[in-house]
């Protein structure tokens, strides 16, 4: 059987941060859960009651092989399968930028979950800013290696943009955990410039 278990926390530091946010025994929904290896870890190590949602058929088959319950869903369809307040934590990691209406989805996940952990890719990172300024071309980074015309990441924004959206949607930011690469002090001091991403813990205001 296919067993996908290995998660590289060095590559995905945000997942380590999200894992800390999962309280034992809680009911967790991961949107865009991939092969389910992260959920499997949350189930086995945090004793969480987990469910994944995913659009890709192969990833779903891998979730089933991993023993992780998964429901085929297009996140653009409004999460109508999940009832309000039916989860303790809804996880959305590196996925918000791919959906058609991030604002609609954000509003939905804080009603489906008592809290939501959103891992956001920061397009305000100085690498991005420099690339745009110096080369005059859309930035490409290790996290977003696509060209502007073939990228699935159709809604890129900065941490500042994200905070503003939350305010606009009446969503409270409970915690903000910037993810840095090489400059921990600068990342903590000026996340919008130095963090490659950030994990936001959200709830309805």
């Amino acid at each position: 059987m296919v067993e996908a278990m290995y998660i590289d926390f060095n590559r995905r530091r945000d997942l380590g941060i999200i894992k800390e946010m999962v309280t034992p025994g809680s009911r967790v929904l991961d949107l865009g859960c991939g092969d389910g290896s992260f959920l499997k870890m949350l189930r086995d190590e945090c004793h969480a009651d987990v469910l994944g949602m995913e659009i890709d058929a192969d990833a779903i088959a891998q979730c089933v092989a991993n023993g992780v319950p998964v429901v085929q869903t297009n996140l653009d369809d409004g999460l109508d399968l999940a009832g309000d307040d039916s989860f303790d934590l809804v996880i959305l990691s590196h996925t918000l930028q791919e959906v058609r209406r991030p604002d609609v989805l954000l509003r939905r996940i804080v009603s489906v979950g008592k809290q939501a952990a959103v891992s956001f890719i920061n397009f305000g990172h100085f690498h991005c800013r420099l690339q745009l300024l110096m080369t005059g071309s859309m930035p490409r980074t290790t996290q977003i290696p696509y060209q502007w015309y073939n990228t699935p990441n159709i809604h890129l924004g900065t941490l500042k943009d994200f905070r503003r959206l939350c305010r606009h949607l009446d969503i409270r930011i409970v915690e903000e955990k910037p993810v840095g690469m090489n400059f921990p002090l600068l990342t903590a001091a000026m996340p919008n410039l130095f963090a490659v991403g950030c994990v936001f813990l959200l709830e309805r205001a």
Binding site: R27, L51, V64, P69, V71, L81
Partner: protein, 376 residues
């Protein structure tokens, strides 16, 4: 060559039915493949669809030309691996492949029941299956797996006998028959009624209403295919000719195909059984006893679920499976749902063996481990 022998289980007491009547002297025809483990924890019940029977896989004899109806999926080393699991499949009551049905002899009259046979429901089928499982000494099934009408039975298992089954795999199915499907069933039965041989169900064995039953089958068969699969398989091809005949005999390949399907069906199926089994599906509505609230219907369920639908299935479309998934999630039941991309229409549940088989294999494997952990 995998040889399997049909078996019979005759109930020692009548079967109480939803319609209020009781069925005396019930026989269930069933087949088993594989070996029941010493702990009796590897049994998988396969429930069949409208035209299926107990012969799920393998051959009855070395002379058999065709294997069982799900032979690609079930057998030694196959996705539903009979080296690992003990697979049981029974012909439903009301059927015509060995189990008691409308053509069986009514012990009160000594003549075939025909339309005096009581109307049975999907729940009645499940009650009968439970009797068989008890008879085989199996306290808890690892899973019930079924497509179409088989999926209806599988779901009823989860709420009628929640302790008696660990996993439920409803495939290409629905929680209530839609008015469109009821309409197709009605027209099919009308076609049989218009056959002069039908005689209100009291036909004799030599003069069966074959024309009517074949027409019903042709109509139903269209609903099992899709526009895409028919276009791909037949297009507008003519059958054994290059030009139109300019009459109303069959010209097109698709016409010839349907005719063939109809003829093959009447060789193995009984018109009165067609009445009873389509009626059982017409009446199927899991939410109805719960005021239309499907989530409440599943409140007793405890099994893990794997729900599968197919993109081009317009008879029991994915939206029906999503309703089921939503109701299960409302009860915090562990459910996986996959909508397999396929052009085959409703028939995909028999044809998309690899995509479906992989899901079934891995789901059962994890379920089996979980059961071992819980019991060990």
């Amino acid at each position: 060559m995998l040889l399997v022998a049909p078996q019979n289980y005759t109930f020692d007491s009548p079967l109480e039915l939803d319609c209020g009547r009781r069925l005396k002297e019930v026989n269930l025809r069933f087949e088993t493949v594989g070996t029941l483990s010493p702990n009796r924890d590897n049994a998988v019940l396969v429930t069949h669809a409208l035209s299926g029977d107990a012969h799920v896989c393998g051959f009855h004899s070395t002379d058999d030309s065709k294997p069982g109806w799900w032979d690609e999926m079930v057998g030694p080393g196959k996705y539903l691996d009979t080296n690992r699991y003990f697979v049981i499949c029974a012909n439903v009551p009301g059927g015509c492949s060995g189990s008691t049905g409308p053509r069986s002899i009514d012990p009160d009259t000594g003549k075939p029941y025909n339309l005096n046979f009581p109307v049975i429901t999907i729940r009645d089928m499940v009650r009968a299956e439970k009797r068989l499982i008890d008879h085989l000494g199996i306290g808890r099934l690892l899973a019930v797996v079924g497509g179409s009408m088989g999926g209806m039975q599988a779901m009823e298992w989860s709420i009628m006998y929640p302790e008696a089954v660990a996993g439920i795999i409803p495939i290409a199915t629905t929680c209530q028959l839609s008015p469109q499907s009821i309409a197709f069933d009605w027209v099919g039965r009308e076609a049989i009624e218009y056959d002069p041989n039908w005689k209100s169900g009291d036909y004799d064995a030599e003069h069966t209403p074959d024309r009517g039953l074949a027409t019903a089958r042709m109509l139903a068969h269209i609903t099992y295919l899709s526009d895409e699969s028919m276009s791909r398989k037949f297009g507008r091809e003519l059958q054994d000719k290059d030009t139109y005949s300019f009459n109303f005999r069959r010209d097109f390949a698709v016409e010839s195909y349907l005719e063939h399907q109809g003829q093959r069906f009447v060789e193995r199926f009984d018109a009165n059984s067609y009445f009873y089994i389509t009626r059982a599906m017409d009446y199927f509505d899991m939410a109805e006893p719960y005021g239309g609230d499907l989530a409440r219907a599943f409140s007793a369920a405890k099994s893990d679920f794997l729900v599968v639908s197919f993109t081009s299935d317009w008879l029991f479309p994915s939206s029906e499976s999503r309703k089921i998934v939503k109701a299960l999630l409302a009860n915090k039941i562990k459910v996986s749902f996959s909508e397999i991309t396929s052009g085959y229409g409703h028939d995909a549940f028999l044809l998309e063996v690899d995509a479906l088989g992989r899901l079934i294999r891995d789901f059962l494997s994890n379920l089996s481990e979980k059961e071992h952990a819980n019991n060990g």
